[in-house]
Symmetry: D3
Subunit: 69 residues, 6 copies
């Protein structure tokens, strides 16, 4: 399946924390930066997300903001 979201970053899951309906997933990128994602707990379970698993963080371009020093 090809996807319109412009941003796909490969990484490895560092931590998974489940709430009642949402889960927080931390993904470590190759350079060491960590991205945090909030998805539904059902999605986290459907994708069998666990520490160490290789995944992609996917972000729609209209959700990326820019900041300057």
């Amino acid at each position: 399946m090809k996807f319109s979201a412009r941003n796909t970053l490969k990484g490895k899951i560092k931590k998974v924390e489940h709430g009642a309906v949402n889960s927080e997933i931390q993904v470590e990128l190759p350079g060491g930066a960590v991205l945090t994602s909030i998805i539904t707990k059902t999605s986290a379970q459907n994708l069998d997300l666990k520490e160490g698993k290789e995944v992609y963080a996917v972000i729609k371009a209209s959700n990326v903001m820019i900041a300057t020093d």
Copy 2:
């Protein structure tokens, strides 16, 4: 100013393309990956975004999705 958005990735602007009301900004991360951002043209002008400028891509955690192979 400290900010609630969990994800901040430092990079350098690779390309800026202006539309009538929105602009597309491409940010190259240290490892070579390129993030694409859509912001208003007014924001791009206010921040004086130009090729080569060091910026941060900022993403709210609830806008990061996860995919697996």
Copy 3:
């Protein structure tokens, strides 16, 4: 590739309209309802989106609101 976004609706492209940096894609669902999507023009071109093509509209659960009469 498996994806965390909970909502995937199959449909057929009814109309594509390109702006300078964004494109508007209209997807007709089997029952006749039409979903409108805004993605970058580059994505629309990468996916070769054209009238009549079968596609999926994909929506993260946190972006679905509820209204009542």
Copy 4:
């Protein structure tokens, strides 16, 4: 009240699940497809969302992504 969000899909609530601050609402569309929504628990309570209630799923066009096979 008329609303700028382009996408409004009528359906019936199939399931409501409450977390501490968010709730997950599943809406069954006429054709049988199920949309999942995450809204605040306070909204779910204000709208008195319950299984079987007729509601609309509302989605801003910029939050609809496209995928192809």
Copy 5:
């Protein structure tokens, strides 16, 4: 129609600027603050948005971030 989005701010349109597929709408709040909104041009036309018109800016709670000095 009652709506799950938690944030509704009444204001008056200060400026409308159309692009090819999106429009930028500026809404002046009673205290003088100005909110900027990007919606599709079709929505702006459907709602007949013009300078001086009284409207509501509507924002889903998961799209509101917090910053501190």
Copy 6:
């Protein structure tokens, strides 16, 4: 740090409620209107958000919708 998000509203925290992974923050604006924000609990803790603290609600323009009577 300068930020591309177009909308920044100053206010005072009225209420903080923590869930397992997300927190709901209510911000009272000068005119008395209250904005509700959902951010991760970790962000709420990192920013030390508490009742009475002065903060900014920050919203990307593409996340502001418009409604009319």
